[in-house]
């Protein structure tokens, strides 16, 4: 009997038991969907994580480990151990191999959100994902000393609109007893969601950072600070002294190593320059462990789905003993009986896996806009790719191997039964 005839026989047999077959197919479909869904999310979040900053060739700060430099500059996790002087920043700007720089000054907060001191160059040069610049959902960049631009999450969660006045506090705690309530900042712009820590940032000019700290140089407000009004501060001749780090774009990427050496050996101050991609990849190795654990769990869920195929075929064997005897009588050999049962397992698995893959793409097509807007994660792969094919094949092969168990059982039965039918 040809393989195609056996497969059509297997189909007919499954169709005859379609209620239980459908349940089995559903179990496989859901498990495959879960696995591919987790894989997709993992890939997408990894991509999105690694593309938190693009277009920046180097991050420069006071000497520390590259990972911690990138962690506080890009992800706002941890604090710089030491600052970098404004003179060193000006030295960077003056170098001919450096095309552009963006200053970053951290250390203050607004209601738990990081205040990032920078300048106009941030809007021009900070890029994420496929070299996208930040864009404004509403309003314009900061210009005045007391102007502030807020990230998408900050605006959404606090319900801010352009024109609202807010307080900025010294220190980074969620609640500060030392609000600079006498110096109100005005929101001039709200950024579009980026899926990066920028969404949770409050951006101000470097001078604004200085303004917050007037009278605070000792670490606690001096009587002087309390006496000064916002307008008094305006009259001071403020200029930045210390920043946390700088984003650097090179004229020619090939000079990265030379520029890095020059920065690392700068004689006036102990600095470090690090390409962000490498440090981000190192961080992901730590963070990605959770994703791998999820993958392992969902791989086991697939196995459970496949075992349900095994269960359904094994339980059907008892009532199908006569069917096997009839097939033997008509001339089917043991190999054909086994092929028939393995075909059934493979058909169930293939149908389930195909449904699972279809469901993943349906779900990701529906969820993509939500993920994009809410989490700034671009879901990977809109069309089925190699991963899906590999999972599909792995599921089929595993089902075929598991199918050997009922096949061997059926073989034993039919050899024991001979040509008699057990009633």
């Amino acid at each position: 009997m040809s393989l195609s005839a056996l497969i059509s026989l297997a189909w007919a047999s499954l169709w005859n038991r379609r209620a239980s077959a459908l349940l089995t197919i559903t179990a496989v479909a859901v498990s495959v969907m879960l696995f591919l869904g987790v894989d997709k999310l993992k890939t997408s979040s990894e991509e999105s994580f690694q593309q938190t900053i693009t277009g920046t060739d180097m991050i420069v700060g006071a000497r520390t480990s590259p990972v911690s430099l990138v962690m506080f500059t890009v992800f706002h996790i941890g604090d710089p151990a030491a600052g970098m002087t404004w003179e060193s920043y000006e030295w960077l700007q003056s170098r001919s191999d450096i095309e552009w720089t963006v200053p970053i000054s951290l250390g203050d907060s607004h209601d738990g959100y990081r205040v990032v001191g920078t300048d106009q160059s941030f809007f021009e040069h900070y890029q994420f994902r496929d070299r996208q610049n930040v864009s404004f959902a509403d309003g314009v960049p900061f210009d005045d000393l007391y102007d502030v631009v807020v990230g998408a999450d900050v605006a959404a969660e606090k319900g801010y609109a352009v024109g609202d006045e807010i307080e900025l506090s010294h220190g980074t705690g969620p609640v500060s007893f030392q609000d600079h309530s006498d110096r109100p900042f005005t929101i001039t712009g709200i950024l579009e969601a980026t899926g990066t820590p920028v969404d949770e940032s409050v951006l101000v000019s470097l001078l604004a950072i200085e303004a917050i700290h007037v009278g605070w140089q000792s670490g606690a407000p001096s009587p002087l600070a309390n006496m000064m009004t916002a307008d008094d501060v305006r009259q001071l001749n403020l200029r930045p002294h210390i920043i946390s780090s700088a984003l650097v774009g090179l004229n020619d990427r090939r000079s990265t190593l030379n520029t890095m050496r020059a920065i690392n050996t700068y004689s006036q101050e102990a600095l470090v320059g690090a390409p962000p991609a490498q440090a981000i990849a190192e961080v992901w190795e730590l963070v990605g462990v959770a994703g791998n654990a999820l993958m392992a769990v969902s791989a086991f869920v697939i196995l459970v789905g496949l075992v349900s195929i095994l269960t359904s075929i094994l339980t059907s064997l008892r009532e199908r003993r006569r069917e096997m005897a009839v097939l033997r009588a008509i001339g089917a050999g043991p190999a054909q009986i086994m092929t028939l049962l393995i075909s059934e397992a493979v058909l169930l698995a293939a149908t389930g896996a195909a449904f699972g893959i279809a469901l993943v793409y349906l779900a990701s097509a529906l969820a993509a806009p939500i993920f994009e807007a809410r989490f700034g994660i671009a879901l990977a792969g809109t069309y089925p790719g190699m991963t899906d094919l590999k999972v599909f094949l792995a599921v089929i092969v595993t089902a075929g191997v598991l199918g050997l168990i009922p096949a061997i059982q059926a073989l034993k039965n039919s050899l024991a039964d001979g040509l008699s039918i057990k009633l």
Binding site: L9, W15, R322, L327, R328, A329, I330, G331, A332, G333
Partner: protein, 234 residues
């Protein structure tokens, strides 16, 4: 040369005492034989040996000029698919196939059988229709309908049609009438003999019911053929 020839065939189920020892048994081509034996006497086992589903412990079994006893399993399966039609007591049909698909199934398993149908200038489907028509099942609704909608008598007739499909050399019928009432049984027996004759197939009809033997010209008793049973009786 006889169609089927058994010589000194012995068989025992694993771990059980010898069940069958048959010094000699033959069936000529086209011959109709009634084999009588009480239940448990090893009828089904003998049929399994003849059909090549079981392997004899010793002795010779020749069928249509081929050495069944020493053939490989695959070859015996091929010979059975090609040249034998088997009818059981009950549950002859695959419940998930239509009546027509059940009848044409042997043609799917054996290319030779398919060829023999083609040689008579017809297709398996048309041959199935013709056979079922001869057996009094000429309704298209029955033909394309589910097997489970048929009465037991109808199912047994469908089984006859399947066994006869492609004119096999030997029809093996194992108590095919025991689930039928007397009237249906006689009609079934008549049809089976008639159609086997038309197809030119030999018929080996096995039953514990001696009354059925009256319709056969040759009657054999398994307990006589089987020397183990004969010795036990003596």
């Amino acid at each position: 040369m006889p169609l089927l020839s058994l010589k000194n065939v012995e068989f025992a189920w694993p771990g059980a005492p010898a069940l069958l020892r048959i010094p000699e048994f033959q069936i000529e081509a086209g011959e109709h034989v009634f084999l009588r034996g009480p239940s448990g006497s090893g009828k089904s086992t003998l049929l399994g040996l003849i059909a090549g589903v079981l392997t004899a412990d010793s002795g010779q079994i020749e069928f249509a000029g081929e050495d069944l006893a020493n053939a490989s399993n695959a070859k015996r399966d091929r010979i059975r698919a090609r040249d034998m039609g088997v009818i059981f007591q009950l549950f002859n049909l695959l419940p998930y196939l239509s009546v027509k698909a059940n009848v044409t199934l042997p043609c799917k398993l054996s290319a030779e059988r398919r060829k023999r149908v083609a040689e008579t200038g017809t297709t398996p489907d048309d041959e199935a229709r013709r056979l079922l028509d001869r057996l009094g099942l000429n309704d298209d609704r029955i033909l394309n309908g589910k097997v489970t909608n048929l009465s037991v008598g109808q199912q047994q007739r469908v089984a006859v049609a399947r066994a006869l499909m492609g004119r096999p050399k030997l029809i093996i019928a194992d108590e095919p009438t025991s689930a039928l009432d007397t009237k249906a049984r006689d009609a079934f027996l008549e049809l089976l003999q008639e159609e086997s004759a038309t197809a030119g197939s030999a018929l080996l009809f096995v039953s514990h019911d001696e009354h059925l033997g009256t319709a056969f010209s040759r009657i054999e008793d398994l307990e006589t053929l089987n020397t183990i049973a004969a010795e036990a009786r003596a």
